[in-house]
């Protein structure tokens, strides 16, 4: 009986000591999550999340002040990755996936004011004064900032179309559980 008690007590002491030692030695100085989150964000500084840039958004996420669904260009995939990184359960089932979009300039409405051109931070809009502008769709990351400045509402966001080459099989229907 005494031996058992002593063995258990000894084990308790030893393991407690180990844990204490580990918490001292392996302590993490600061939260590196912010840097990691910033690397995950698109980095296009589009500002759709309401923060000035991706850096501020990352800081807010790390502090737990922003929701993981804050980044429209990142979509559901980014939201899931962020939730995983932050170790939180995010219910994304009703998160409406908009899908990637690109800006499209309507030829009949654009009169070449060039106001949209400096707004585009990836220089995807080409055109000159009094000439119809166009968007290089491959470069556009869908921040929609150009839409806001267009005086003639000539720019609209369109979903990136699925083509024969970009299509893939959908996820199979889950096995029907109900009647």
């Amino acid at each position: 009986m005494l031996t058992a008690v002593m063995i258990l007590a000894g084990m308790g002491l030893l393991m407690g000591g180990l844990l204490g030692f580990a918490s001292q030695r392996l302590a993490v100085e600061e939260n590196p999550v912010e840097v990691e989150i910033q690397a995950m964000l698109p980095g296009s500084q589009c500002g759709q999340c309401g923060y000035v840039g991706c850096g501020q958004a990352a800081a807010a996420l790390a502090r737990g002040e922003a929701t993981v669904t804050l980044c429209p260009p990142g979509g559901k995939a980014l939201a899931e990755a962020l939730a995983k990184k932050l170790g939180i359960e995010a219910d994304l089932s009703d998160h409406e996936e908009k899908g990637p979009e690109y800006a499209f300039i309507r030829a009949d409405l654009c009169y070449g004011c060039t106001r949209c051109i400096p707004e585009c931070n990836v220089d995807a809009i080409i055109g000159a004064t009094k000439q119809m502008h166009d968007v290089i769709a491959e470069l556009c990351h869908g921040c929609a900032k150009c839409v806001e400045v267009c005086p003639t509402v000539a720019i609209e966001m369109r979903p990136v179309p699925t083509t024969v080459t970009s299509w893939h099989w959908p996820k199979p229907e889950p096995l029907a559980a109900a009647h």
């Binding site: 698109p42 980095g43 296009s44 500084q45 995939a77 899931e80 990637p100 400096p118 585009c120 931070n121 990836v122 220089d123 470069l139 990351h141 699925t162 083509t163 024969v164 080459t165 970009s166 299509w167 893939h168 099989w169 959908p170 996820k171 199979p172 889950p174 096995l175």
Partner: protein, 487 residues
């Protein structure tokens, strides 16, 4: 010849006898032909004709966009009726840009590049260029631009050209017939390709269930000692390039690498014949052999079909359906795609049209996995399908990626054997599609990041310059004003 063993594989019902003894017949000239701009892997080809143009047979319709692309040619003479969006021969049923030719019934050849008179003494680059401008892509189903593969000799040390005549897909007999009837052309094409590659030896591998094809090829190859024609055991999917390579050379292609890494380049027998025609006669790739078969087709056939012919023309030629088909398939039953519509055209990668009857199509409701492990046993890639599918079902694509779902070749052996009828391959195709999208998105994000940083730097400099200019202006203006005060 030593045959090396492979893991996994299955023995599906081959049902090739329905069409294997039927000689290749030409299909009558269709009224309208539909030539999609994308019939190959790589960049979209660019049309150089306009609606209303008259084109001759063999005339270039679209040119390559960059080198990783393929040229398209007019399969017959006629008028360009439209360049429009038309339903693609693809599982998605999506439309794609397609050139529509109205045949003039003359089928008159236009001017073709001159035959290369002595291809074994010219620069190999000339053969490769000829293959490129002839629009030749891998006709075994991979539709990879053939010229790119023939150029591998530049990057890799090669010693073997492997000509793939396995045709392990059930039902299909187009390669079998081609090997039987055009063995000499296949062998000549193979020699031309070996010349282009700088490969020392040629191995022609055919599944052992095609003895006549093996005999024809052996006879045609007799005069050339660098060519070995060999039978390979009947086991789906031996015709997959990496697996066939392992089977006949014992060399296992490292994952994430090309076959050329182990000194081997593979080409399909029909591709070899197309190369022969391009080099010897200057003829571009405008037709291919297509097997029309299945329990629901009235009369099976192996047809020589112009690219762009609507599938309905083939079905009509074969006497239509003897019963309402339960499933229409483009290609074979293991890796083929569901046919979205009978109006879709035959393209360079279409090897067969399969009209499966209700009796042939084994269907059953999906049940939960009982962990029988059959899928693991049959996977030719050594993957664990049930485990990957379980991860994907729970949206853990990263976990599936870690156990190499990306190495799946989509052969369908696992789905074929699964007693619970779980659509395993669809899970993997879905996962690889999403993982591919994510990778593309990451690349795009990186580019966006670089561009936006550059943009920010430029904006800042512009702002500084403006401030400097303004400061300069103020500085210049200030003394003036004092002067004014003083004045």
């Amino acid at each position: 010849m030593k045959i090396f063993d492979l893991p996994g594989g299955v023995h599906p019902a081959y049902r090739k006898e329905q069409s294997s003894e039927l000689a290749i017949r030409p299909l009558p000239l269709p009224k309208r032909l539909y030539i999609p701009l994308q019939q190959h892997v790589g960049a979209l080809s660019v049309p150089i004709v306009a609606v209303g143009d008259t084109v001759a047979k063999g005339q270039v319709l679209c040119v390559r966009q960059g080198s990783f692309s393929a040229t398209q040619h007019a399969p017959t003479s006629g008028r360009i009726a439209a360049i429009e969006s038309f339903v693609a021969p693809h599982a998605s049923g999506l439309a794609q840009d397609t050139i529509v030719i109205e045949s003039d019934g003359q089928d008159a050849w236009g001017e073709l590049p001159a035959p290369i008179a002595d291809p074994f003494s010219v620069d190999p680059a000339e053969i490769i260029e000829r293959v490129a401008i002839s629009g030749i892509v891998g006709l075994g189903g991979a539709i990879f631009p053939a010229a790119i593969k023939l150029n591998m000799g530049q990057q890799y040390k090669l010693d073997t050209l492997l000509i793939n005549g396995a045709e392990c897909e059930p039902y299909l007999t187009c390669d079998d017939r081609l090997m039987r009837e055009y063995a000499a052309e296949v062998i000549d094409g193979a020699r031309l390709m070996a010349r282009a590659l700088g490969a020392r030896r040629i191995i022609v591998a055919v599944e052992e269930n095609k003895p006549q094809a093996i005999a024809s090829l052996k006879a045609a190859a007799q005069a050339h000692e660098e060519i070995r024609v060999t039978g390979v055991p009947i086991r789906y999917p031996v015709g997959y390039a990496q697996h066939l390579t392992k089977m006949v050379t014992g060399r296992e292609t490292p994952a994430e690498h090309r076959n050329a890494e182990v000194g081997v380049v593979t080409h399909n027998v029909a591709t070899a014949r197309a190369v022969h025609q391009a080099v010897r006669f200057g003829r571009p790739l405008i037709s291919r052999i297509v097997t029309v078969t299945g329990g629901a087709i009235r009369q099976a056939a192996n047809l020589d079909v112009l690219i762009g012919t609507p599938v309905s023309d083939l079905v009509e030629f074969c006497g239509g359906f003897s019963e309402t088909p339960k499933q229409l398939v483009l290609g074979g039953p293991m890796m083929g795609q569901p046919l979205p519509d009978l109006a879709v055209p035959i393209v360079k990668g279409s090897a067969g049209i399969l009209a499966m009857s209700a009796a042939e199509l084994v269907e059953s409701r999906e049940r939960p996995c009982i962990r029988c492990g059959s899928c693991v046993d049959v996977c030719p890639c050594g993957l664990s399908p049930m485990e990957m599918a379980a991860f994907i079902r729970k949206d853990k694509l990263d976990a599936a990626d870690k156990i190499f779902v990306g190495d799946c070749i989509g052969c369908g052996s696992c789905s074929w054997v699964c007693p619970s009828y779980i659509p395993l391959v669809q899970y993997f195709n879905y996962a690889n599609g999403v993982l591919g999208d994510q990778a593309r998105q990451r690349r795009k994000n990186d580019r966006v990041k670089t561009l936006s940083e550059a943009h920010a730097v430029r904006a800042e400099q512009a702002e500084k310059a403006r401030q400097a200019a303004r400061a300069g202006k103020t500085a210049a203006a200030a003394p003036q004003s004092t002067n004014e005060v003083q004045a």
